[in-house]
């Protein structure tokens, strides 16, 4: 299954919040064949997700792992929706 992994420094707070919002957006879009998870930076390197999501200050670390969505704010739904949809289209999920 297509996999999105949200990362943050500790894998406890911010990443989970973003994961929730991604799930919400996917539901809106009626996408159900995508798996979303969250983790800390160090465990992210061992995973193989199709898209990595993180706030901009850690996104540079993620880029080495694969396609990355970089966010300015983790509570800005519009920003997230815009960037996520663009990425999913690029990956031909949408």
């Amino acid at each position: 299954m297509f996999k999105i992994l949200v990362c943050c420094g500790s894998g406890l707070g911010s990443s989970f919040m973003i994961e929730m919002n991604i799930k919400k957006i996917l539901k809106e879009l009626n996408v159900d064949n995508v798996e979303v998870g969250h983790s800390d930076l160090s465990s992210a390197s061992g995973s193989n997700a199709d898209i990595y999501v993180g706030t901009r200050d850690i996104a540079s670390n993620l880029e080495a792992l694969g396609d990355t969505v970089s966010l300015n704010s983790m509570i800005d739904m519009n920003e997230l929706r815009e960037k996520l949809v663009a990425k999913l289209k690029e990956k031909e999920i949408l």
Partner: protein, 704 residues
């Protein structure tokens, strides 16, 4: 980090007023530049923060101020007494006590200069404080006489003087300390050392001790620590006064029946021994006073006196308490007996106006106010019987007994750790603590005793000693010392202690299973005990797991409660802002210092990613970085600070959270997330000036 003398002085000055002091003023005072003072303040601040206290309140016009904080007083006192290489600086009240005592005990007039040298204070300070002393003495029918070129002396009756001495000493020295002093010849603090020297200098304490032991043997009773301390200080003061050859006039006390009492005979013998030893003549009236003290001293047991009448009064009081609290005491007889033992000497004290201070009095009336008032109400039976009012200190002692009895009504079984509880008397405080222990822990109270009796207990009889007082014969590792009020920190301390030693017994599942087994046993024959226990245990665990899942763990308002919210806080930079949030959790013991450093490390290593949205920081680290309890705090700032985030600066709200695992906090966090995403509600929180407004928003998001 050590503070130098000037820093310590400044700290003391700040703490004396808890008000703004201008830097310039300090500079003039210490004859240094304002810049030096600012450096000093930096040092003090660093020192305070390092030890978990808040930053100084520094205002560019008003100056600098130390905020009142829990534990700060104690901390500073300890620091000054133990850590500094500089001499001890007496506080005003300490100085006044010392001066009063010296004046009362002096053989000839004392000069102002004497106090200047002794207390390291200026002449003006001495003179100013003498005014206070004069007022204090006046209330006690004593006059301070100041004669130019001759000095200071106190005039008044011998009885009033002695009362004043006793009042001064009992205010500042606990009787436990006297006992410790007698045993070890060292006081626990400096101020007390001076007082002890005044009280006992040139008196052979061992001799006094032998007198009391004699009295105990003759009267076939054992005094409690309080009683012991009272008698010994009374005798010590008496001897000193006689040695100083004061013209002694004490009114006769004419107590009916006192001459027939055995205590009177014992007092006679004590006096004759004192006369021989110190080569003094003791006036006859002193005999009555000692007898009175022996009668009034609380003893641990007394087989002689008839107590039917007293018992029936006590029963009445207990009945009413039962009625008020709608309970019925299990060990009713024992409660009656204990209270009678307590009341017998108390009655003597009340009748003869001997005032006994209850060191716990203030704490009792603040923490157990209702209990105290109810005690006061039921004590009217006793007051009718005595025909006089009972003072509040005595009442609070009685309240302790009721409190213990009430705590005890909670059913307790399966107590495995055998504990002996020790307090000054083995009656009041220890009982209270014992009942708390039984409520909170899986323990068996073997006995409650006074610290003087402890050496007689066979150490086969117990696993652990828990004491509210220092036990001089034992090293610190031999017993656990807790506060008589059984505060939260005591609970944590004991929990830690009991857990490491008796982990299995503490597990609540085991206790519950044990109870269930007993119930089952009553009605069934059990075929396989082990298996049944195992299955019950399994079901409990499953049930708890289900409960956990159903409950959805913690809601946002379970975590963000009033005490972890702080609004419009001042912070100079982002580090301070983070600390404002973590301090709230540190104070509650939810996290350790290490967790705070871990948060800072995160910022250092990963950058300001925790600035999750414009103006909002979500400060946290990993559970293993030092989290004691799942917790969260919320702080809003009066002035936004920069965190170095490209788009989300500046920050005006800090949410700190501490997770214990990867899941239990997620529900609350997702609710927080919902809140942050609703701009209106978020603004209401950020702009809130009172906690109600914040809590109402939080509650809105805290349902499933």
């Amino acid at each position: 980090m050590q503070l130098n003398k000037r820093c310590i002085d400044i700290l003391q000055r700040l703490r004396k007023s808890y008000d703004y002091i201008r830097t310039k003023e300090l500079a003039v005072l210490y004859k240094v530049t304002p810049r030096t003072i600012r450096y000093d303040l930096d040092k003090i601040e660093k020192f305070l923060v390092k030890n978990g206290f808040e930053y100084l309140d520094r205002h560019h016009i008003r100056g600098v101020k130390l905020k009142k904080q829990k534990g700060l007083e104690n901390f500073i006192n300890n620091f000054i007494n133990t850590e500094t290489p500089y001499k001890y600086v007496y506080s005003k009240s300490e100085r006044i006590t010392i001066m009063i005592l010296e004046l009362l005990q002096a053989n000839e007039p004392l000069k102002v200069g004497y106090f200047e040298k002794k207390l390291f204070i200026s002449r003006n300070t001495v003179l100013k404080e003498l005014d206070d002393i004069e007022k204090w003495l006046k209330k006690r029918n004593l006059n301070l006489i100041r004669k130019p070129r001759i000095g200071l002396l106190i005039e008044g009756s011998e009885l009033d003087k002695r009362k004043a001495i006793i009042e001064c000493t009992s205010e500042n020295i606990s009787l436990e300390e006297i006992y410790g002093y007698i045993n070890r010849k060292i006081a626990m603090s400096k101020i007390n050392n001076i007082q002890f020297e005044l009280l006992f200098s040139e008196i052979d304490i061992d001799f006094l001790n032998s007198l009391i032991n004699y009295a105990e043997n003759e009267l076939n009773k054992k005094f409690s620590d309080d009683g012991y301390g009272n008698i010994i200080s009374h005798i010590a003061i008496m001897i000193k006064r006689l040695q100083l050859n004061k013209k002694i006039y004490i009114p006769d006390i004419n107590i009916e029946g006192i001459k027939e009492s055995k205590e009177y005979q014992v007092s006679k013998e004590i006096i004759s021994r004192i006369e021989d030893k110190f080569n003094i003549k003791v006036p006859k009236v002193e005999l009555d006073y000692i007898a009175l003290h022996l009668l009034g001293a609380k003893s641990l047991k007394n087989s002689e006196v008839e107590e039917n009448e007293l018992s029936s009064i006590v029963e009445k009081m207990i009945e009413e308490i039962e009625f008020i609290y709608n309970v019925s005491f299990k060990d009713r007889n024992k409660i009656v007996d204990d209270l009678v033992v307590h009341l017998r000497p108390m009655i003597y004290r009340v009748k003869f106006g001997l005032h006994q201070k209850n060191p716990l009095h203030n704490k009792i009336i603040t923490n157990y106010k209702e209990l105290f008032l109810n005690t006061k109400s039921v004590a009217r039976h006793l007051e009718d019987y005595l025909g006089t009012n009972i003072n509040e200190h005595e009442l609070s002692y009685i309240a302790l007994h009721f409190g213990a009895a009430l705590q005890n009504t909670v059913d307790n079984k399966n107590k495995n750790v055998k504990v002996i509880v020790v307090c000054g008397t083995g009656i009041g405080t220890a009982k209270m603590v014992a009942s708390q222990l039984m409520k909170e822990f899986n323990v068996d109270i073997v006995d409650t005793i006074s610290s003087r009796e402890i050496r007689k207990v066979d150490n086969e009889d117990y696993d652990l000693i828990i004491s509210t007082v220092d036990i001089s014969e034992y090293s610190e590792n031999d017993y656990v010392k807790i506060s008589p009020l059984f505060l939260k920190k005591d609970y944590e301390k004991l929990k830690k202690f009991l857990q490491t030693k008796y982990e299995a017994k503490l597990n609540s599942d085991y206790i519950l299973v044990d109870k269930l087994m007993k119930t089952i046993e009553k009605y069934c024959d059990i075929k396989d005990r082990g298996l049944l226990e195992y299955e019950l245990m399994y079901e409990l665990k499953e049930n708890r797991k289900r409960f956990f899942n159903e409950r959805g763990t913690y809601m946002l308002n379970d975590l963000l409660t009033r005490e972890v919210i702080d609004l419009n806080v001042k912070a100079r930079d982002w580090k301070e802002a983070i600390k404002k949030g973590t301090n709230l959790l540190l104070k509650k013991g939810c996290i350790t210092d290490n967790y705070v450093s871990a948060i800072f490390n995160n910022f250092k290593e990963v950058g300001p990613y925790m600035v999750v949205a414009p103006g909002i920081v979500l400060a946290h680290a990993r559970p293993e970085d030092g989290v004691n309890r799942l917790s969260m705090s919320l702080v809003t700032l009066s002035n936004p600070v920069k965190f170095g985030h490209k788009t989300n600066d500046p920050v005006n709200m800090i949410v700190t959270f501490a997770a214990v695992d990867n899941e239990s906090h997620l529900k609350a966090l997702s609710q927080l997330m919902e809140l942050l995403m609703n701009t209106d509600d978020l603004n209401q929180v950020i702009n809130a000036t009172n906690k109600e407004a914040v809590l109402s928003v939080i509650n809105k998001y805290s349902s499933n």
